[in-house]
């Protein structure tokens, strides 16, 4: 069984948001909900100034605070390490969202996903099962595109990334691309002081 993880190269990421749109369209997320985002930070003073683009998503922590906080058992970890939310069991209490130190979870307030791209009644531009996937009053987050992963594909954000700044693979395989990068380039997890053991690492920071 694999243990899926992701590496972000901060040197390669240019903040182009292809990943964000791929994710939005893969999962047909409601307007204000993003499973992955890129943050931009300006560092330094004129003229010695540069910009850093920081991609983020659910870190699929091994010691996931969200899972511990969930009273209904909706949040669980698959054998391959992907942290999931079972929409049928989620009671919408948001305890997980509060517990997550990475702000990686969102509450679906209204099922706007059934609307078209322009908010009207035109076709929703998504497969029927994707359209019906999200329920109002539940908490949602990135699941590493588990349905794609189950078919041997990489997550949508990884497949489209123009600079190949997102590297996905099996962290239990020492020869996988993410394992090698974490070793050779000092892969660092986000907020290590939270002791959540993320399966997402940043390199070239």
């Amino acid at each position: 069984m694999a243990r899926w993880g992701m590496v972000f190269s901060l040197a390669r990421c240019i903040g182009c948001n292809a990943c964000v749109v791929a994710c939005k369209t893969e999962n047909r997320l409601p307007d204000d909900i993003y499973f992955t985002r890129t943050f931009v930070e300006e560092v330094g003073d004129f003229p010695s100034v540069r910009r850093v683009y920081i991609p983020t998503l659910c870190n699929h922590c091994e010691d996931a605070p969200c899972e511990k906080a969930c009273p209904s058992g909706a949040t669980y970890t698959r054998d391959d390490g992907i942290v999931m939310v079972d929409q049928d069991r989620c009671i919408g209490c948001s305890a997980c969202a509060v517990a997550c130190p990475y702000d990686a979870r969102s509450m679906i307030e209204e099922p706007s996903n059934n609307r078209g791209l322009f908010g009207g009644a035109e076709a929703p531009a998504a497969e029927p099962d994707v359209v019906d996937r999200w329920r109002a009053g539940t908490v949602v987050k990135c699941d590493f595109c588990s349905r794609r992963v189950d078919q041997g594909l990489s997550p949508a954000c990884v497949a489209v990334c123009p600079t190949e700044a997102r590297i996905f693979g099996d962290l239990d395989d020492p020869d996988s691309a993410p394992s090698r990068l974490v070793r050779s380039r000092n892969g660092a997890p986000p907020l290590p002081e939270k002791n959540t053991k993320p399966k997402v690492f940043y390199i070239d920071y």
């Binding site: 190269s9 040197a11 390669r12 240019i14 903040g15 182009c16 948001n17 292809a18 964000v20 749109v21 791929a22 939005k24 369209t25 893969e26 307007d31 931009v40 300006e42 330094g44 003073d45 004129f46 003229p47 100034v49 540069r50 910009r51 078209g116 791209l117 322009f118 908010g119 009207g120 035109e122 076709a123 531009a125 998504a126 497969e127 029927p128 099962d129 349905r147 794609r148 078919q151 041997g152 594909l153 990489s154 949508a156 990884v158 497949a159 489209v160 990334c161 123009p162 600079t163 190949e164 700044a165 996905f168 693979g169 691309a177």
Partner: protein, 859 residues
């Protein structure tokens, strides 16, 4: 290729995946579109596109919005309200195609019989602008292509023009597999703008991983600058000064140019007489060089030539002359880095250091063997684009860029700048070697482009190409000249405008001039997907299908052979047509489709079609049928359109000898003799026809020199009351402002802290009492537009930056009123036009005045 990449070709989902290529900018990235129950539901990159490997940008992934937009035009429309104006409702009524087409065809027939130039054909569908431009040529008008709403503002015409005459490059690409040092000037190559973003982003990230040093010269901390090893903030429109200082270091201080190459491979040793023309051999007419070994002048191709001189002063046939290289050395003498600093604000020490680093990285003398052939290896590139070039002095600046690259021998070789040519390869044909003129200098091919316009008086071109023979386009001038044709010498006045996929209000300048011109025309026809700012002035609107409902067949790569298909992934949802089919239909109804001079014949020439796979001149084809013949022709009958519809593309890399040194033994110009000659000819004609006396027109012929020299932009000297230079820039989430109708992209754009704002330096703002988020009036001599101040450390202190992707005032609910327009501040006049290569001055002077009362509320 990794297992994951192979697996990705299968894709998930219940639908059917159809291959096509994106057409939301002109890079034609391979896509696959999932279709469920006749609805496109998902767009992904096509992993079988060897150019992009299945990667795609935000725009490409968000493309379904084009198809599903409720604002799409669903049927032909005809105006009922005679009053035209900004946001004045045209009162369109629905019409049948027959009614609309017949109405237009009747006018076309009348104009064509009278004077075809009275039609302005403004044709700018990204992926097939060359084909559509052929329609205007077949009609017979001089006003076709980018006329009226030019790429003179949007694009980097000097790049195309100077690139072509220097080494046949319609567009230049850094050879990143070998490059180690890249300087980008006003370019976001590999970071979102310029050509081939998706592939370039990967290649540049890989090259940086291998240690490439990136230096970015830009007034603003662009994405490229923000990620670069070094950002050099420059004062807008002064890149030319930076480059002259750079050349000064190479030829006067470091002397680090490739002298061996200059002697053999360029016109650097050609002797110039006092008139700065080549001194020629009286017997053969060939340019002479001075053989230092023999101590005498010889024709440049003299077989036993030993060491042609680059420097010195000689007397040949009683005439004092100097090698072209010596002329450059003389002309550049005063352009020291200290001089450059005083103009461009980049410290002299930095210019000196970067030039020396660049020269060292060029590794003059090094070679690399590829497939058993030794090539020079020059792993350093200087690459500029619109930011450097879209100024009145932009062509001189581009000449300076190429001067650097020629000096180092870095054009068309591994590690240097490689040419994407405008040859038959774009339409599927084989790459063609560049021709060589009798003077030994390269002659580029330029299908569909005018590299030279013959002088005529009265002039024909409303862009004034007659007075700017080398300009690729000055489309932005058309609204100006058509308002007062006699002032410019015209003996006609245009009556009709056909706009195909263009929006003059967002891509020309001064809105009042554009508005007045549009009102004056008898008939304005727009081929469009949505109603926009310009369709408010249209008499007839013809609805075009979106790119997910139409065909195309093209190769936009710079180093691959073959074709890539664009195809309908679903049938047109409404009563819309492919724009090319509309042009074919209009040509048919107006009587210029068939025969030797018809549109079919023009398409045969443009697409490089020849028997047995060519269009008959006596029948009508659908555009799909045209593409089928194109596919068969260039595959030797092996592949038809259906094959491409199934397989997507047959792109494969060209051989190294079809990528590098396509000029072979033709010499490249260090001395731009063709520019000098065109200027001399123009000057003679202007005098002969007394253009200045007759019309009071002062056409500036001074830039037509063989070497670049400093010429300020008019914005540097004017309008002391307007204390900011306002520039525009491009984001990877926008294609011009065409993408402003896309809700996915707009939602992301609105999340960006500064993308929709007028961005200024935080220290400047403090001095002027402006704060982040202040609503201001952006005031110039030409416009007063509202904007919101964004602060950054990353911008030259006198500069304000506005993205070109927003500021729409159309009826489109997603686009309307978001962001602000930069181009409204741009004057449309001759003083702000670079008539040499054809470009508009895209920097303007503005001031920011804090809005008060209800105006101050953020919109």
């Amino acid at each position: 290729m990794s297992a994951a990449e192979i697996a990705d070709r299968r894709e998930t989902g219940n639908g059917q995946w159809v291959r096509s290529h994106c057409q939301q900018c002109f890079n034609a990235c391979g896509i696959r579109v999932e279709v469920v129950d006749g609805n496109p539901v998902r767009i992904r990159g096509d992993a079988d596109d060897p150019n992009t490997l299945g990667h795609l940008c935000a725009r490409g992934l968000a493309g379904l919005a084009k198809f599903y937009d409720p604002q799409r035009i669903r049927t032909p429309l005809i105006r009922t309200n005679p009053e035209k104006g900004r946001r004045v409702d045209p009162g369109f009524r629905e019409a049948t195609w027959d009614e609309a087409l017949d109405l237009i065809a009747a006018k076309l027939r009348k104009i064509r019989a009278d004077n075809p130039n009275k039609l302005i054909a403004s044709l700018w569908p990204y992926e097939k602008y060359v084909q559509s431009s052929a329609w205007g040529s077949a009609f017979g008008t001089a006003n076709t292509g980018f006329s009226f709403s030019g790429v003179s503002n949007q694009c980097a015409n000097p790049n195309h023009f100077v690139g072509m005459i220097t080494h046949g490059a319609l567009v230049e690409f850094p050879d990143l597999t070998h490059c180690r040092y890249l300087i980008l000037l006003g370019s976001e190559y590999g970071f979102g703008a310029n050509q081939s973003f998706v592939r370039a982003a990967r290649e540049l990230a890989d090259a940086r991983d291998r240690g490439l040093k990136l230096v970015v010269v830009d007034p603003r901390l662009s994405v490229a600058a923000g990620k670069a090893d070094e950002w050099l903030p420059i004062k807008p429109a002064t890149d030319l000064a930076f480059l002259l200082g750079f050349i000064h270091v190479l030829v006067h201080e470091d002397r680090s140019y490739d002298a061996t190459w200059l002697r053999k491979g360029t016109n650097a040793p050609y002797l110039l007489g006092p008139d700065r023309d080549f001194v020629t051999d009286p017997d053969t007419g060939k340019p002479l060089v001075f053989d230092e070994t023999a101590g005498k002048a010889r024709p440049y191709d003299y077989p036993a030539l030993d060491q042609p001189a680059l420097e010195g002063t000689y007397t040949v046939g009683g005439v004092a002359c100097i090698p072209a290289f010596q002329h450059l050395v003389n002309e550049i003498r005063d352009n020291t880095p200290e001089w450059a600093e005083s103009i461009c604000d980049i410290p002299a020490g930095t210019i000196r250091r970067v030039a020396k680093e660049f020269a060292e990285a060029s590794s003059v003398g090094a070679t690399v063997a590829i497939d058993g052939v030794d090539y020079p290896l020059r792993p350093a590139c200087l690459l500029s684009y619109r930011g450097l070039q879209a100024h009145t002095n932009g062509t001189l600046a581009m000449m300076a860029q190429e001067t650097v690259m020629v000096l180092m021998g870095a054009l068309g070789v591994p590690g240097g700048l490689v040419a994407k040519s405008m040859d038959a390869r774009r339409f599927g044909g084989r790459p063609q070697l560049m021709a060589k003129g009798p003077d030994g200098i390269v002659r580029p091919h330029a299908t569909g482009w005018h590299l030279y316009t013959e002088f005529s008086y009265p002039p024909k071109s409303l862009e004034l190409r007659d007075y700017g023979p080398l300009a690729l386009d000055m489309g932005h001038l058309v609204p100006l000249t058509m308002l007062e044709p006699e002032k410019y010498g015209f003996d006609y006045s245009p009556e009709m405008l056909l706009i195909y996929h263009s929006n003059p209000f967002t891509n020309a300048g001064h809105h009042e001039i554009v508005s007045r011109a549009l009102k004056q025309l008898d008939l304005v026809v727009s081929i469009n997907i949505y109603l926009d700012e310009s369709t408010d002035y249209a008499d007839v609107v013809l609805p075009e299908s979106t790119y997910l409902e139409r065909f195309n067949l093209i190769n936009w790569t710079y180093d691959m052979q073959g074709l890539q298909v664009g195809q309908p992934v679903v049938e047109p949802r409404y009563d819309t047509r492919d724009g090319m089919d509309i042009l074919i239909e209009l040509a048919d109804r107006a009587g210029f489709l068939q025969g030797e001079d018809g549109f079919n014949a023009a398409l045969n020439r443009t697409l490089g079609l020849s028997a047995p796979h060519a269009l008959s001149l006596d029948r009508k084809y659908s555009y799909a049928e045209v593409l089928d013949i194109q596919a068969r022709c260039h595959s030797g009958g092996e592949r038809d359109l259906k094959w491409y519809m199934e397989h997507g593309n047959d792109l494969r890399p060209v051989a190294p000898d079809e990528k590098y040194r396509m000029y072979r033994d033709a010499r490249l110009p260090l001395y731009f003799n063709s520019i000098k000659a065109a200027g001399d000819e123009l000057r003679r004609n202007l005098e002969k026809y007394r253009i200045a006396e007759r019309h009071g027109l002062q056409i500036d012929t001074s830039p037509y020199q063989g070497v670049p020299f400093w010429q300020p932009s008019p914005v540097h000297g004017e309008d002391g009351d307007y204390d900011f230079y306002v520039i525009s820039y491009k984001s990877y989430m926008t294609t011009y402002s065409d993408t402003a109708t896309n809700p996915l992209l707009m939602a992301l754009s609105e999340r960006d802290p500064n993308l929709m704002r007028v961005v200024i330096n935080a220290h400047t703002a403090k001095k002027k009492g402006l704060r982040d988020g202040d609503v201001v009036w952006i005031e110039s001599r030409y416009a007063r537009e509202r904007g919101v101040v964004g602060l950054t450390e990353g911008i030259h202190p006198e500069t304000a930056a506005i993205s070109g992707g927003f500021g729409r005032f159309s009826r489109h609910p997603v686009a309307d009123g978001k962001g602000t327009l930069q181009n409204a501040h741009l004057p449309i006049d001759l003083a702000h036009t670079g008539m040499l290569g054809g470009t508009m001055e895209t920097v303007a002077r503005v001031r920011l005045v804090r809005a008060r009362g209800k105006d101050a509320r953020e919109h």
